[in-house]
Amino acid sequence: MRTSDIERVFRDEYGRAVAVLVRAFGDIDIAEEAVQDAFTAAVQRWPSTGPPPSPAGWIITTARNQAIDRLRREASRHDRHAEAALLYAGDEPAEEGPVPDDRLRLIFTCCHPALAPAVQVALTLRLLGGLTTAEIAHAFLVPEPTMAQRLVRAKGKIRDARIPYRVPGGRPAGPAPCGPGRRLPHLQRGVRGERG
């Protein structure tokens, strides 16, 4: 397997893997890091062993195991955050939204109207498109540290303010300020990769 083949798997599967891991652990940083580790392992292994029967499945399983290993190590050091994420990973979510796709849930999180439009697009490109911070910074015509800071701040807000991982619309009717109708313009912009 050539590096270009692994690159293709990365482009096709990075977003889905991150989305699955976010659902499993409820934490974007853990998910991103674990998926990146899994691809690093793939680059080291696949050229000699050949690709596994299901590259996407291998990436997700490897990332999941890496995340659990990391969380166990941190939990044993009495890291409350790690303990919480492990607990979260323990109970498989039974709840299914209107559309059973983890990527769509994560798109709605990235494009939550509580995040500034430009940040929504950048975050979607990063988490679901698998673009590097440098590439996104280039597209937005801002220095890389500026974009890195924006992404860190946005992920911090999602975590601390508890922006949900959920496709809106599964909630009872009522004056929901963040219903799907209100969110669709943001979502469309995010999908088209326009600047806000």
């Binding site: 939550h112 509580a114 601390d160 303010a161 508890r162 922006i163 949900p164 959920r166 809106p168 909630r171 009522g174 004056p175 929901a176 300020p177 963040c178």
Partner: protein, 117 residues
């Protein structure tokens, strides 16, 4: 569950005329009742005008007082409510109702560690 601080930003100056204020107060009472019934309400208070504020700074072993609020501006926090909610969407929904009741903007911020209720 996370607790959120809902701050109401109020323009400085005279309060609105009684007929407007009474309406706001009664709608706020209804909303507080709704929050309590839903188990979301933790604490709420209205504040005296920002002109009653004093800023205290400890500097070089001395305490220095400044008359007035910390930030310059035409609006200041006029009151706040602490709620508990499962996620930001739920907190924003309460904030929307609060903004409608008060006719004022409401800032939503998550608390690091909730206060005991």
């Amino acid at each position: 569950m996370t607790q959120y601080l809902l701050s109401v930003y109020q323009p400085d100056g005279d309060p609105p005329p009684p007929e407007v204020l009474d309406q706001v107060m009664s709608e706020l009472n209804v909303l507080n009742g709704e929050m309590k019934a839903a188990g979301a309400w933790v604490f709420a208070a209205g504040l005296h005008p920002a002109s009653t504020a004093t800023v205290v700074r400890h500097r070089d072993g001395e305490v220095v007082l400044t008359d007035g609020p910390f930030t310059e501006g035409k609006e200041h926090i006029g009151g706040f409510t602490i709620i508990t909610a499962p996620d930001l969407d739920s907190a924003l929904e309460w904030a929307g109702k609060m903004s409608r009741a008060t006719t004022l903007p409401v800032e939503v911020r998550p608390l690091q560690h909730g206060v005991e209720d």
